[in-house]
């Protein structure tokens, strides 16, 4: 086997944070290497160094034996490295061909040869079975098509080494399987691939070899055939972390009910008819690939806007006002989908962030004047009770890590003892330890008799926490199935919009027949 890529002793620091320390790894021709690690383990930094977006403090990169000059993306592209970013690096207002051709010709040429570009793109698309329309606007493409386009962009640059950063983050189970088939095919045709992931089942099914990163260091390297999910999990996390599991609770009356809810374009995908019920002491999981309307559903229940049609009932009654104070006053606790852009104002202090959503309540203000002492005392209590590390009452919240930010948000929501809890993607981007903590809090709220609406993309999370599960696809909710009947395959089908099996299972249930249809 020929060695196509070699990283030797890469070290990278950002101020006091060491992102990579003495990392070495290699890749052979035709091989698929999985780079496994938790969020923040340094995987993306490492690949950014390889691609020239960052310069390493120490160490070097060799491609087919040649030293790669550091810090120059152009050199990396010329050496045959192609990168497929986790957040697509595409311009939505430009065409597919424009996106592919950018930067591929000498800049000062007086006329761009689009005919040749189109021919090359179509030939590649043919060769690897990646269908695209060169003239389509990127904004019109589905997520899966965008990913195909990203791969084609790399191939168009004659990439021989392909790096994919968390490639399945936005795909359905079925789409992900399709992607891995393509990758295997590409490897068979002589390309070499690195894919970055924190999902064990993907790593096990798609790679030849695994390198595990933890806290910026390589902690292990295994041939995939010689290892197991369990071993990799422990290597990745560094210890055994048990996620808490659900125990039976007494279910009460229906606290939150949606009846054929419809909401049109609020900056996200629209909701085209969602019906659901959540009882006290019960968790309803909503599973779905992002962009299918779950953001809109979360916003609706959070009180950001009213439904266009249909009814949202809280404890059997339609709320008088559809706004945030109304939702909070009705006992709805809200965990936002995006901690950093929705959950907190980064440049404000911890105490301001902790009380902002309840600043109108007599607890924190009177006649328009903020009760600073009360607000700060309440924040102090949250920091203590929820173990928010690194937070001070008067410090800027920007400094908190993702996990601690989420603890603060959980704290501010749960101290109000909500009867309904909406948790949108509550563990997205967190590491295992933090996830376990979040899950424990959600189960605790359920145990106290809250109705929990869990909206998530993570199959394991939804199966572990929910009593019942509905999938969201194209703005509609599937029938609900009991969590103990759910598995990855069935949920994958439901997320893709195939509800025949789900319907059959829901039909078996007693009492709740057809409630979601």
């Amino acid at each position: 086997m020929t060695r196509v890529l070699e990283l030797d002793g890469i070290t990278k620091r950002f101020g006091s944070v060491t992102a990579n320390e003495d990392v070495s790894l290699h890749l052979d021709r035709g091989e698929i290497l999985a780079l496994l690690g938790e969020n923040g383990a340094g995987k993306t930094t490492l690949m950014s160094i390889l691609f020239g977006h960052y310069t390493a403090d120490a160490g070097n990169v060799r491609i087919e034996g040649q030293l790669l000059p550091p810090g120059r993306p152009r050199a990396a592209i010329a050496a045959g490295i192609g990168m497929v970013h986790q957040h697509f690096a595409l311009a939505p207002n430009l065409s597919v061909l424009d996106n592919v051709m950018t930067g591929t010709e000498p800049l000062w040429r007086l006329r761009s040869d689009r005919r040749a570009g189109r021919a090359k793109l179509l030939a590649l698309s043919e060769k690897f079975g990646l269908k695209v329309d060169p003239d389509a606007m990127v904004s019109e493409l589905s997520v899966g098509e965008c990913q195909r386009l990203e791969i084609l962009k790399a191939l168009y640059n004659d990439a021989r080494i392909l790096i994919l950063d968390e490639p399945t983050a936005v795909l359905t189970t079925q789409e992900a399987e399709g992607l891995f088939n393509t990758l295997r095919d590409m490897a068979a045709k002589g390309l070499s691939l690195v894919f970055i992931s924190h999902k064990l089942h993907e790593v096990m099914s798609a790679s030849h070899r695994v390198t595990v990163l933890r806290r910026g260091r390589v902690v292990a390297e295994r041939r995939t055939a010689d290892t197991s999910k369990e071993e990799l999990a422990e290597l990745m996390v560094g210890r055994k972390v048990e996620r808490p599991s659900r125990t039976d609770t007494a279910r009460g009356r229906v606290l939150l009910e949606g009846r054929d809810l419809k909401v049109g374009g609020k900056g996200g995908a629209s909701l085209k008819g969602a019906s659901f019920k959540v009882r006290a002491g019960e968790t309803l999981g909503i599973i779905g690939v992002s962009g299918n309307g779950q953001t809109t559903l979360a916003g609706l229940v959070s009180g950001l806007y009213p439904p266009d049609s249909g009814a949202l009932l809280v404890a059997g009654e339609a709320p008088r006002r559809h706004d945030v104070p109304g939702a909070i006053a009705a006992g709805i606790g809200r965990i936002p989908e995006d901690r950093n852009t929705e959950g907190a104002v980064a440049e404000m202090t911890t105490w301001e962030n902790a009380v902002l959503e309840r600043i109108w309540s007599p607890e924190f203000s009177s006649r328009g004047v903020v009760k600073r002492a009360a607000a700060r005392a309440a924040t102090e209590a949250i920091i203590r009770d929820y173990d928010v590390r690194g937070a001070t009452v008067d410090g800027r919240i920007r400094l908190l890590s993702g996990g601690n930010m989420q603890k603060l948000i959980l704290g501010r929501v749960l101290t109000a003892d909500p009867s309904i809890l909406v948790a949108a993607q509550p563990s997205r981007g967190l590491d295992e330890g933090a996830i376990a903590g979040v899950h424990a809090r959600l189960l605790e709220a359920r145990g106290r008799g809250a109705a929990v609406l869990l909206i998530s993309e993570d199959l394991d999370e939804v199966i572990a926490l929910s009593d019942r599960i509905q999938a969201i696809a194209g703005g509609k909710l599937s029938p609900a199935i009991p969590a103990d009947r759910a598995d990855a395959r069935l949920l994958g089908l439901m997320m893709a919009g195939d509800w025949s099996a789900a319907r059959a299972i829901a039909g078996e249930g007693e009492g709740e027949k057809h409630h979601a249809l």
Binding site: S302, V345, M348, I359, G368
Partner: protein
Amino acid sequence: MRFERRDQPSAVLTLLAPVGAILAALVVAGGLIAIAGANVFEAYGLILKGAFGSRLGISETLTRATPLLLTGLAAAVAFRARLWNIGAEGQLYMGALAVAAVAMVPGIASLPGALSIPLCLAAGAAAGMALLLVPLGLRLRFGVDEVVTSLLLNFVAVLFVSMMIEGPMRDPLAFGWPQSVPVPDSALLPKLLERSRLHAGLLIALAAAVVVWWLQSRTVFGMRSRAAGLNPRAASFAGVPLGRTLIAVACLSGGMAGLAGAVEVMGVKGYVSTDLSPSYGYSGIVIAMLANLNPIGVIGAALFSAVMFVGADSMSRALGIPSYIADVTVALSLLTMLVAIFLTQYRIRR
């Protein structure tokens, strides 16, 4: 070379930033004075002497600082909420015109000052608010960026003032000069100092700074307007009514600018003309930035600008250096302040 965000903005640097920015601006402006063939130290000495060297100088500087303090507050309040009000100049003129309009109402002249003065001030503030609500309304309703609209409205406002004082509000006794009928004596602000132009408007402006500071740091409105400016998405998730908050901010900001015009008419001029403001509205932007948008800091920044303008006038007469050097210095200090604020937040690494 790379820039790396500091975990916590350095407190020392934050306090030093305006000082450093002003010094840097003075150094560059000093180069321009030297090019003109004058002794830089002599020129700066004369500026200080002009501004502080005499009773007249001090009273003139404080008189000059009064409208600047108010337009500085107008910009600071708006920018805090990321409302880009660049229209303070126009709002100032509308505020001034409103005072003149109230003064024309029959019977106002016979009211006691305790009534007519607050009435005129309120009219000025209301006119300023009204003018700013136009671009804000266009932003909220149509999504039009308020920067360009508020800028363009400055020209419209001044033309409108010109139209009124050459038309229905013209003073027939002004020998053909286009100026409004004068404000009656009962609506004039009392003088603070005999034989000077310094008037009670300064106290109004100082009180306004304190009130704005209190509103911003102690009230629900202040917290919401800051949140709305820093992160509208998070603010609206937390239930901050964005539209209403911005309207309140616009009222405060436009009101301050309108007040600046009212105070200038009622304290200094006594009537409205189209040379009422030597760009007080635009200088307010610089002052707000120099103060790092802090209402109390605006007091110091306004004073600095007033010193430059008043001092440069007398320096110019003595040395023949164009008095535009004051505008250059003040504008430069805005640019240097931006860089200085950046340095308080970032570290430079190689």
